[in-house]
């Protein structure tokens, strides 16, 4: 089973790669382009700043600036014509002691915001798939 299935897996990875790239810019469109992404991010952070589970992490944060940064970041990652100019995820969250509970709460806030923008569930998952690996740099170990 082992050698064959690893070979098959590798083949799948290679053959998936181009389609993933191609779907990136359509993800940008599906999220409503830059305006749609900005609304999603603003609504997410409205929730983050008021939700008892997350608000204490945002006490010293300027909301407007953060909305701009994350909008650019998601715009760029989803295949849009933007450049993210912020810190790396690791540097940006160092010593904040962000817990898994807080991180999951933020994901739920993002899902709520995408629901509000009527983003279909499978599209939401495509964005979450791109953002998910950031958890290891954001959440304290």
């Amino acid at each position: 089973m082992k050698p064959l299935s690893i070979g098959t897996f590798l083949f799948m990875v290679i053959s998936f790669a181009p389609s993933t790239l191609a779907s990136s810019s359509s993800l940008y469109n599906a999220l409503g382009e830059k305006d749609g992404i900005a609304r999603i991010v603003a609504h997410t952070l409205d929730l983050s700043f008021t939700d008892a589970r997350t608000q204490k992490q945002f006490i010293h944060t300027k909301k407007g600036r953060l909305i701009g940064l994350i909008t650019d970041q998601i715009c760029a990652l989803s295949g849009g014509p933007c450049t993210y100019k912020g810190l790396s995820m690791k540097k940006g969250h160092i010593k904040l002691g962000i817990t898994e509970r807080e991180f999951n709460a933020l994901v739920e806030q993002l899902q709520t915001a995408m629901d509000k923008e009527n983003i279909p569930y499978h599209i939401q998952n495509k964005l979450l798939a791109i953002l998910a690996p950031m958890k290891k740099d954001i959440v304290e170990h």
Partner: protein
Amino acid sequence: MKSILGALSLFTQSVAADDAPLFGSSKLLATPGVVQIEGAGGSGLTTWAVISSYGSNREIGANAHYTLTATQDYTLNAVGARFGFFDKVELSLTRQYFDTGKAGAALGLGEGFTFHQDIMGLKVRLFGDAVYAQDTWLPQVAAGIQYKKAGKTDIIRAIGGQDDDDFDYYLSTTKILLNHSLVFTATARLTRANQFGLLGFGGDKTANYSLQFEGSVAYLLSKNSVLGVDFRSKPDTLSFAREQDAWAAYAVWLPSKHFTVTAAYVDLGDIALHDNQRGFYLSVQVGF
């Protein structure tokens, strides 16, 4: 004594400093899976590598379930509870009642003769992150052990079963491909269980352990619903009646983290001289 108190106060301080409750449900909806037939976290027939509670890495969570499986000739009722500790360790306890109905009379056991079984399970997450490691093919991997104790020892002996209790050992891998809204699970199980253990362990054909396979593919249809299929191979150790592989097609409805309903169509193959046992499976769980 002093050092125990010291450790305790340190512990309570660290919990208090975090001001997050010890009992909680902060994992994402649907990510802990549901419950499988032996009471561990998984889907209907397949054990998953996820820890089956909504408790995240600093929380303890728990679920209770009731599951009914009804085929043409048999009814299996199960009740149980699962506890997840820090998204690392899962403990499960389940009791199954296998009602032979009219088939019991045909088998010479008497109508409505009921086998029962208790199952205690322990699962430990070894490595990997099924949900968040979306940049790698590495799955989440867990190892587990289930202690099964069947009732009706004399009947089990009479049909050729070797033992009325035993351990199953499994290694499980689960991978969520969020980009495609799919969840894959493959599990290898070392077992001697006849019909999951309800008909004892080992038989007159072979008393040895065999390696069996469980597999599941699930599609995350919406925030509150999941569709999937399960396959499970089983040993065939008793010469009085053939045992076959099982499969199921299921739909899960998750209105919240605290209440979940799973409905399935199951095909369990031949069971104790009654062919092609097919029917429905309904499982309800509540938890935090």
